[in-house]
Amino acid sequence: MAGKYIALPKGVPERTFDAAIKAFRRVLGEASVLTSAEQLAPYIKTMMPVPDSEHAPSAALIATTVEQIQKIVGICNQYKVPVWTISTGKNLGYGGAAPAERGQIVLDLKRMNRILEVDKDLAYALVEPGVTYQQLHDYIAERKLGLWLSFPAPSAIAGPVGNTLDRGVGYTPYGEHFMFACGMEVVLANGDVLRTGMGSMPNSNTWQVFKWGYGPYLDGIFTQSNYGIVTKFGFWLMPAPPVYKPFVIQYQNEEDIVEIVETIRPLRINGVIPNAVVIAHALYEAPTKARRSDYVTGPGSIPDAAVRKITKDHNLGIWNVYAALYGTQEQVDVNWKIVTQAFGKSGKAEILTEKEAGSDPAFEYRAKLMRGELTLKEFSLYNWRGGGGSMWFAPVSQARGSETLKQMSLTKQILGKHGLDYSGEFIVGMRDMHHIVDVLYDKTNPEQVKAAYQCFDELLTTFSALGYGTYRVNTAFMDKVAETYGPIQRKVNKILKDALDPNGILAPGKSGIR
């Protein structure tokens, strides 16, 4: 269309949208309502194997206060235009800042970025959605508060609100982020403002210290959902330990994953290793040090022999287990003895500490992530295949060796069938493993675009048929994943949606909910 907008919301005529835009401008001011192609282009680029135009927004709104957001939802209800809310918008590999559906308006909260409170003694923070990890890190460092953050790979440029609401994970003992969330403020579709947990009680000073409040625990329904717009978010911070000891344990065969997981599980459940351990395949680490084109050329996935050569050339294991110990020197010493004895039994493991591996680029960035130090090094992954294509495939497995080997083998086989590499890792929870695989492909190559889509589709279909659910997915596949969880869950989600957002103005399509 040659109209003044690059896209329009589904079913909304241009004249109606014009009126809505004028109303938004009265609330936010001209400069905070973006409609030109150049202004919206930074929101559009995705890494998924679908045309970017399918996720083009009609406009972007920059809001900074709760009152503005209340007025915005009022306008959305009046004109029946949907908004897709982002905090920092750093959902890299999951759809980025682009809306789920063409024509939705992006509500960008990046400038709603006040750090409202950081309590050193009770070790919590209360922030607005636009606060980045970098900002909070600097705030804590300037005031010498002695608190550590936990964040995902986008670290510096991402934010705790967006990541936790999508139930993302980090690599410290606080790595299961939503577990450490405590209290939020939400603007509902009707403009009401809800404070969850103890926050609903006026004058409460336990909003950020006691998660559950009274009655149904509502915080969960605002994660991975479209039931409200979170405007304040509380979460716990880890006090800096006196001693931090990162290490990597390398194994040389893919089948060793069984022994690794069986060894780690009791150490995690018993608290000997407190952090979210990562078991990274060589191809996940290789991009920090190697170029794919130096080892393989031509189409197809990388052969095992080439992977083995990469490990030899670049001091990697086929599996690289990154973990850390935290505490006093006495605690660390005791736990280190337990760890080395456990992993030393079979003779297959090579254990390296900072002393042996400190200058290695892969170890260096992992050590940073495990102690809450900001780094973007993991995005070297995008240079592996090049071309800007990436989708996270993220099924969950039991923390059992046999299960992880089964998942890894199946994933590798399906990827290989489509000419793609297995760039995967397992993030170890207490009893579960997040199996995180970066499906990397060249978006300039139409054959790879097609292969990537078919591969991802097949991965989801195959894994769900085996009972392996996906914990998080990009916006092109949300409906498919929602289907795999069965009709009853979808029905309940829909009932909640109809009750909380009868006009469907908040992020239609998120997690397959409309």
Binding site: M1, A2, G3, I6, S36, A37, E38, Q39, L40, A41, P42, Y43, I44, K45, M47, P51, D52, S53, A56, I62, T88, G89, K90, L92, A97, K110, P154, A156, I157, P287, S293, D294, T297, G298, P299, L376, K377, F379, S380, L381, Y382, N383, G386, G387, G388, S390, D442, K443, T444, N445, P446, E447, V449, K450
Partner: protein, 330 residues
């Protein structure tokens, strides 16, 4: 240089001004760059930085010979080279974007850096004029891979045809390359005032419009144009993975001749390069300057070339190369 800027530059290598690239001051004085008051080049520490910068220089020198609408620019353009790459120097780039107001930047970096750079541009409320993904196939892929994959592939997302680079790049590559594909996706169809917006093309290419797309235009349907050299539009569609329902209507010869004549006159005066990355640098800079001769009012267009001459086939035997280019306004 004030303290703030000195701190900003710490960790980067700067050529200071385009004098370091051999571009005289005022080279951009006659370049139409919209509301930008300054111009800059950001090199992200890729293996093709030098070639890209050479193309940038050539375009700037060509522009200095007075091929555009006069818009005054203040100060000297900047060249910034990131010594450690953006993934290490992201704070420097973030500060650069926040502090360099009213500046149009041309940038080149690897794909990992590009993913983060896009985020930083949005953080700084910058405008993304175009983002190009550029890839060359390695020798083995050319020899053993699918013959349907182009040796050089370019995919652009561009705000509007006013800043399209496709036809300039196509005109540079067609003489030297065996096969390439250039796809441009425009977020809006508006070309710049005074540009040649009728359905022109590049010499050597036959132009087509997706059947029904003009009629569909009034009803708000997409406009798609295809320019083919050495292959049919249906083969072209297959190569691109386009599922275009309907057929392709050739652009009328009369229109082609009129616009092509104007374009040929301009293109013949432009300097050429045999280096692929240099050609991209040139085309992106010309697009940044807004001096692209042929702009088409469409949502997507592609240039596809397959040479019938076998001798060119052996030229590209090196490793695959990939990088991303940007034009942004801060």
């Amino acid at each position: 240089m004030d303290v703030n800027r000195r701190n900003l530059m710490k960790g980067v290598l700067t050529g200071g001004t385009l004098l370091a690239l051999g571009v005289p001051p005022g080279a951009f004085a006659s370049a139409p760059v919209g509301r930008a008051e300054r111009f800059g080049l950001l090199l992200g520490n890729t293996s093709v930085d030098a070639a890209f910068a050479a193309g940038f220089r050539t375009a700037a020198q060509y522009a200095a010979r007075g091929s555009g609408v006069a818009v005054s620019m203040e100060g000297s353009p900047e060249v910034i080279k990131l010594k450690g790459g953006l993934l290490n120097d992201y704070k420097i780039v973030a500060r650069l974007l926040e502090k360099s107001l009213n500046t149009r930047w041309v940038a080149i970096m690897d794909d990992g850096s590009a993913a983060i750079f896009t985020e930083l541009v949005r953080n700084a409320s910058g405008k993304l004029i175009s983002l190009g993904s550029h890839a060359s196939a390695d020798g083995a892929s050319i020899q053993w891979g699918s013959p349907d994959i182009s040796q050089l592939r370019h995919v652009w997302v561009t705000a509007s045809p006013a800043h399209s680079a496709g036809s300039i790049l196509a005109s540079h590559l067609v003489a030297n390359e065996n096969s390439f594909s250039i796809v441009e996706n425009f977020l809006s169809t508006q070309a710049s005032a005074g540009s040649t917006t009728a359905n022109g093309s590049v010499p050597g290419f036959l132009s087509y419009r997706l059947e029904g797309s003009d009629a569909g235009h009034d009803r708000g349907q997409d406009l798609i144009h295809l320019h083919c050299s050495g292959l049919s539009p249906s083969s072209g569609c297959e190569l691109l993975g386009w599922n275009a329902a309907g057929g392709w209507t050739p652009v009328s010869q009369r229109e082609f001749t009129q616009e092509a004549a104007a374009f040929i006159a301009q293109v013949n005066g432009q300097p050429r390069s045999g280096d692929w990355a240099e050609s991209v640098g040139y085309a992106v800079t010309v697009a940044a300057l807004g001096t692209e001769a042929i702009q088409e009012s469409c949502y997507s267009r592609a240039f596809l070339h397959r040479s019938a001459t076998l001798e060119k086939r052996s030229r590209r035997t090196g490793a695959a190369e990939q990088f991303t280019s940007f034009i942004i306004d801060t």
